[in-house]
Point group: C2
Chain length 206, copies 2
Amino acid sequence: LDVLSENKRLAHRNHHHLQDHGVRSVDVMGSIGAGKTALIIRLAEKLIAKGLRVAAIAGDVTGEDDFKRMRNAGILAVNCNTGKECHLDAHMVEHALEGMDLDAVDVLFIENVGNLVCPADFPLGTDLRMVVISVTEGDDMVRKHPDIFLHSDLAVLNKVDVAPYVDMDISLVENDYMSIRRDRILHRISVKNGDGLEELLGALGF
Amino acid sequence: LDVLSENKRLAHRNHHHLQDHGVRSVDVMGSIGAGKTALIIRLAEKLIAKGLRVAAIAGDVTGEDDFKRMRNAGILAVNCNTGKECHLDAHMVEHALEGMDLDAVDVLFIENVGNLVCPADFPLGTDLRMVVISVTEGDDMVRKHPDIFLHSDLAVLNKVDVAPYVDMDISLVENDYMSIRRDRILHRISVKNGDGLEELLGALGF
Ligand SMILES: Nc1nc2c(ncn2[C@@H]2O[C@H](COP(=O)(O)OP(=O)(O)OP(=O)(O)O)[C@@H](O)[C@H]2O)c(=O)[nH]1
Ligand SMILES: Nc1nc2c(ncn2[C@@H]2O[C@H](COP(=O)(O)OP(=O)(O)OP(=O)(O)O)[C@@H](O)[C@H]2O)c(=O)[nH]1
Ligand SMILES: [Mg+2]
Ligand SMILES: [Mg+2]
Ligand SMILES: [Zn+2]
Ligand SMILES: [Zn+2]
């Protein structure tokens, strides 16, 4: 059985499992260091303030850095180390979910491994898939990685607070994104100062 | 035959081929948008000014962005698109080398795909392997990706010019690096303003 169709089958099963428990889920992909963990924590804080119960799976090759940051922010977090893989897959997520009481969860964020290539081919079974890039990586990120932007529902450009200090033409990135996703906008945010976070929550359906 | 030992065999052959032509070669790995292309261009300019002939292989999943930037900087560049792989391998490099007259080359840079995971396992057959990260990705990059730092000869922390604008404790990253590579230093540089580039060239043996 080939790897990708087996992954799709397991993702489908994960999706049913999450929906049966009334959990709304988001796969947070993106480049290394784009701000995925920081964003999940900020969004979780806003959702918890609205009375929602938030959980997260911290996907990483190794270590517990992101898991600890999430747990310290009051999120029901589970750590998921891939060992050698540079992307999470539906099988790993299935096991990570076993460690959670989904009846006590309204929203689940899954932080994928920082990588703009492989995660595109491995859906996890979430309702939505979001890609996070940042202004500090250069204005060619969308052009160079069309696949992951095509296989996701939302795209976010983070760290706009430091745009004045890096050579970055935001409208170039925006045009690249709009040329492959005519129906979507690139959400410009700053996790650091809070810009754009409320609109992003709205676009996620909260 | 397993993939990794086949890759080692081909890397070994590439290495002999490059040495037979007197070419000194560097595999430039690192995170997405860390500044690999910008660094290669700056180092090449300095080497060309010293009378050396510089070539480069621009590894990317898709597109010609980096390849064109290198060619426009006067580097003998060859483009190498991996299609789906998030890392270059020795087989791809073997083919890319076929497009070069190595008797007209003194120094070869190979820009790997932006990824701190898989490239560690796929040596290409170069003399040296270098990992480039930047201050904008957070201070946990080394801790989270020990493998690639263990499987390389030099580590570079780029964009130190913007360190004042991001929450970044450089000494933390440095300590993480020194704890896994006791014999090495983390080269702090800024491609933008030229800091640290001469020392880095020295460390590369030029
Ligand atoms: N200036 C600025 N820095 C930010 C922002 N968001 C995150 N950062 C910083 O970016 C660095 C990386 O943030 P993380 O949340 O660890 O990023 P990540 O995408 O989870 O990183 P990995 O999981 O290692 O791939 C940290 O130093 C953050 O403080 C932002 O909006 N503005
Ligand atoms: N402030 C600052 N920006 C830098 C520096 N070096 C590179 N950049 C910027 O960082 C962004 C990415 O640079 P690239 O050279 O494309 O990085 P890369 O690692 O080759 O990127 P990929 O090949 O896409 O993974 C660009 O906007 C550069 O201008 C630096 O020293 N300081
Ligand atoms: Mg993270
Ligand atoms: Mg590049
Ligand atoms: Zn992968
Ligand atoms: Zn890979």
